[in-house]
């Protein structure tokens, strides 16, 4: 497939496959706008679901806050102060109105602004996520390509077996194993738990980031390496690669100029999925290392029926998931000539799994 010339035209002057000129905007822009609208609608739908779900949780927040020893009068007073005695649609409208101004109210549990809790926790989760991705993406690309080239060789077989082993290990076993090795028992060089000083940036406290990052990298790496490996293998087996090979292209050029870029498409979706998981908070890592991230904050908030914090975090996560999906789809479209030049790229959320499985976008 000689798609290179098409590629540039599609991008620069916005002409689609049928030859219609779409002014000077790229042909996929309307698609992008539609996706944005759908994203906003999704977030809105999620706010309703979140609100309904928090209402459906058993127990009532006022009682949870005050504990079993509080009198009914005290609980009733607090319920009134929290506005929990108003009709549900009124509560929802109030909440939505405030949320649009980024005011999520005060945490029922600790009486500070929910936004301030979420902001700190989000910062920590983001730092961890970026670190993990910064290590995992290049590493999985290198390893995946190296294994694909040596397919079925001894190194490939041993590495794949090792990766399956890591994938099968539950995260907390990995985490505790690392603590035992590097913090308490065998080679105590790193802190066992990540007691971040909240007054400084997590990046200024790198020792606390090592074990959580390593744990997450080890648990994510197998998935991405296998994805890259499968993608590269599939491309290397494609007819056009065989044709290129027959024309005398060097293996090196073949691999890095043709195979790898095409194998990137499923990888991008895989990375997006990883990012979504990490944004949701790596709860196990946060709990085992006492790392103050978003996941454990949400977990605690649900357990405490701390509705303002639950809503702030889920809304943030929903928005981020929509954003990550959008970014991944844009990158996918840009990487895939057929989609890039189509007036209506047919990349829908449902097709993402298929992309991933197909191992190529050619």
């Amino acid at each position: 497939m000689t798609s290179q010339p098409f590629t540039r035209r599609g991008l620069l002057i916005g002409e689609d496959l049928e030859g219609r000129v779409a002014l000077t905007v790229p042909s996929w822009l309307p698609w992008l706008l539609r996706r944005l609208l759908v994203g906003v609608a999704t977030v809105f739908a999620i706010t309703i679901i979140v609100f309904a779900a928090t209402q459906a949780l058993p127990s009532d927040p006022a009682r949870v806050i005050l504990g079993p020893e509080a009198t009914e009068q005290a609980v009733a007073v607090l319920r009134g102060q929290l506005g929990l005695d108003r009709p549900l649609p009124v509560q929802y409208a109030h909440w939505l109105g405030d949320a649009l101004r980024f005011d999520f109210g005060r945490s029922l549990d600790s009486d500070v602004e929910a936004v301030s809790i979420v902001r700190d926790r989000f910062g920590n989760s983001l730092v961890l996520m970026l670190l993990v991705l910064a290590v995992t993406i290049p590493l999985s690309l290198l390893l995946g390509v190296a294994l694909a080239v040596r397919r079925d060789g001894r190194l490939d077989r041993v590495a794949m077996a090792g990766l399956i082993l890591f994938k099968a290990l539950p995260g907390f076993i990995l985490a505790i194993g690392l603590i035992l090795i590097f913090a308490t028992n065998i080679l105590p060089v790193l802190p066992a738990v990540s007691l971040l000083d909240p007054s400084r940036s997590p990046l200024a406290q790198p020792a606390y980031l090592v074990l959580p990052t390593v744990t997450l990298v080890l648990s994510i790496l197998p998935f991405l390496v296998r994805l890259v490996r499968a993608g590269v293998i599939e491309v290397l087996e494609a007819d056009y690669v065989a044709a290129a090979r027959l024309r005398g292209l060097s293996e090196r050029r073949l691999l890095w100029r043709h195979a790898v870029p095409n194998a990137l498409v499923p990888t991008v979706q895989g990375i997006a999925m990883t990012a979504r998981v990490l944004l949701g908070g790596a709860v196990i890592v946060e709990v085992v290392f006492s790392y103050p991230g978003l996941g454990s904050a949400l977990n605690s908030a649900i357990e405490m029926r701390d509705i303002p914090v639950i809503q702030a975090i889920t809304l943030l996560q929903a928005g981020l998931v929509v954003l990550v999906n959008l970014l991944a789809d844009i990158v996918t479209v840009l990487l895939t000539p057929r989609l890039r030049t189509a007036a209506r790229p047919t990349l829908k959320p449902g097709s993402r799994a298929a992309w991933k499985l197909s191992g190529g976008g050619t």
Binding site: E69, S110, P170, F172, L180, P198, V288, S290, S300
Partner: protein, 519 residues
């Protein structure tokens, strides 16, 4: 599920790794670590676990255990707990109740100061108790001192306050019920923006407290006990997970870990840099029978169930031996406790006879258990099976357990662990549980004779006269009450070898005594 297996994994790994090196059991009850002479300076770090709660800094509405512990650093009270859980005078130099216990007179020590330098006066005492009992504050602990007549508090002079009890009733339990949540604070107090008290440590900047993560306190130089506290700083760090807290203790990231789980004691071994301090407390564990619903409205069923409990087996298996058996009565340390009541023993045959008399062939009951009590509930279910009683254990999460249904469970786990009534004397414990005015009477025990005796005891300052009343009331509790109090658990504190001043007590407070610990 995950938590349990993780815990077991670490226990196994720790046992495999550390035991091989030492070949010994846990170290317990050694004398204090770094010499016996207090050392000034440094930062004392306590790791706490309070479930999923973050909590606050409120002196009078400290929701959850973590908030209460932080309150012990920030706030001083008129009384403080002695190692045997009696209220000793602290900020007060004098506290006296009149003959029918309707009027308290309390005088502050001279020259007391708040963290911000303001002197502590009678007005601050009045402000503090009015704040605690303010209906708009909605403190869960306000009801404990609800009996005081908050609108008629009297300031006798700059240091003396007179506190009348409402409706001319007697209330001798004021020191016991006020001490935990009775922080004295100034009138411009605010729990978030101005958390000022007179405790051993102060909060320098509001930003030093990050809910769900940590609180960093600085030494209060003008603390009312001369020369104390010792450390420059105190850091209270919140953990969500018991296992990682132990790892932090063993790796030296924290100095103290309060209230360890019994199954984790084995991880702290000699040479590991820390020890386990065992304190025998009067924090009881129970199964509570709702006497207002079948089958527990029949006293014979209640008596039968109390005979179905193999108490020693429960202590051995549910508490892993870290406790002692109980006799369906709380507060054995109270001077009014009736020690002549015989210990009830496990007797499934006698229980069967009582159940047959009550007309129950095969009896099926659901036992609702909080997460912490689930294993004890399962052990009990197994014991009861031998007398043909089928107990289904339903484990629910804490918010559900303590939620709107909490007083309606037919049969549920109970106890003082992790609550404000841990180790209190008999009368204040009753006020939390089965007394006529209790807000948390899960047993719905409404025996008129018991109510009369309890109310009379509450108004009787004379110990000998009160003893007779309490003895009679305890006989009723023991004979027909609704609580199966099967054991008292030990408090197990992890103490780093760097820490001095930590001593075993008959309380859960050894790691909370921030004024006497040093690093």
């Amino acid at each position: 599920m995950i938590e349990l297996s993780r815990r077991h994994l670490l226990a196994a790994a720790g046992a495999g790794g550390l035991l091989a090196l030492t070949g010994c059991g846990p170290s317990q009850d050694k004398a204090t670590g770094p010499g016996l002479v207090p050392r000034r300076g440094g930062r004392l770090r306590l790791g706490i676990v309070d479930g999923d709660r973050s909590g606050n800094l409120d002196a009078h509405k400290p929701v959850g255990l973590g908030s209460t512990i932080r309150g012990f650093a920030l706030y001083a009270k008129l009384w403080e707990w002695s190692p045997v859980m009696t209220p000793d005078l602290a900020l007060a130099e004098f506290a006296e109740v009149n003959d029918d216990a309707t009027l308290w007179t309390i005088r502050l020590k001279p020259g007391l100061e708040f963290h911000n330098g303001k002197s502590i006066t009678a007005d601050d005492v009045i402000f503090s108790i009015r704040r605690l009992t303010d209906p708009q504050l909605a403190s869960p602990y306000g009801s404990l001192v609800n009996q005081i007549d908050r609108d008629n508090l009297q300031r006798l002079d700059g240091r003396t306050v007179r506190i009348p009890v409402r409706d001319g009733q007697g209330f001798i339990a004021l020191p016991d019920t006020w001490t935990n949540f009775g922080g004295i604070v100034p009138a411009d107090y605010h729990p978030v923006t101005n958390p000022v008290g007179a405790g051993p440590y102060k909060l320098k900047n509001p930003g030093d407290y990050v809910p769900g993560q940590r609180a960093l306190f600085t030494r209060f130089e003008n603390y009312f006990k001369d020369g104390k506290p010792y450390a420059d700083e105190l850091e209270i760090i919140e953990f969500k997970d018991q296992t990682s807290r132990i790892a932090a203790l063993l790796s030296g990231q924290i100095d103290l870990a309060n209230a360890l789980l019994p199954e984790q004691v084995g991880l702290i071994k000699p040479g590991s840099g820390a020890r386990v301090l065992v304190s025998q407390t009067n924090g009881w564990q129970s199964f509570d029978m709702n006497t207002s619903v079948a089958p527990f409205d029949d006293v014979r069923v209640r008596q039968a169930f109390r005979l179905l409990v193999d108490r020693q087996d429960l202590v051995d298996r549910a508490l892993l031996g870290q406790g002692r058996i109980a006799n369906d009565l709380y507060s054995p340390h109270d001077p009014t406790f009736d020690r002549s009541i015989p210990q009830r023993t496990y007797d499934p045959a006698a229980a069967r006879r009582l159940l047959d008399e009550a007309g129950h062939g095969v009896l099926k009951v659901e036992l609702v258990a909080s997460p912490a009590a689930a294993s004890a509930a399962l052990v009990f279910a197994e014991q009861a099976k031998k007398a043909g009683v089928e107990i289904t254990v339903r484990k629910v999460d804490n918010p559900t357990f303590t939620g709107p249904q909490r007083l309606d469970w037919g049969f549920s786990s109970g106890g003082a662990m992790g609550s404000g009534m841990l180790g209190l004397s008999w009368i204040p414990t009753g006020l939390h549980t089965d007394a006529p005015t209790s807000a948390g009477n899960k047993t719905h025990f409404r025996d008129p004779e018991f109510a009369r005796l309890f109310t009379a005891a509450l108004a009787q300052p004379d110990l000998e006269k009160r003893k007779a009343l309490v003895h009679a009331a305890q006989r009723i509790q023991h004979e027909r009450g609704g609580m199966i109090i099967w054991g008292f658990s030990n408090t197990l504190d992890g103490i780093s070898d760097r820490v001095g001043g930590a001593e075993a007590e008959n309380s859960h407070f050894p790691t909370w005594r921030f004024d006497k610990l040093w690093v």
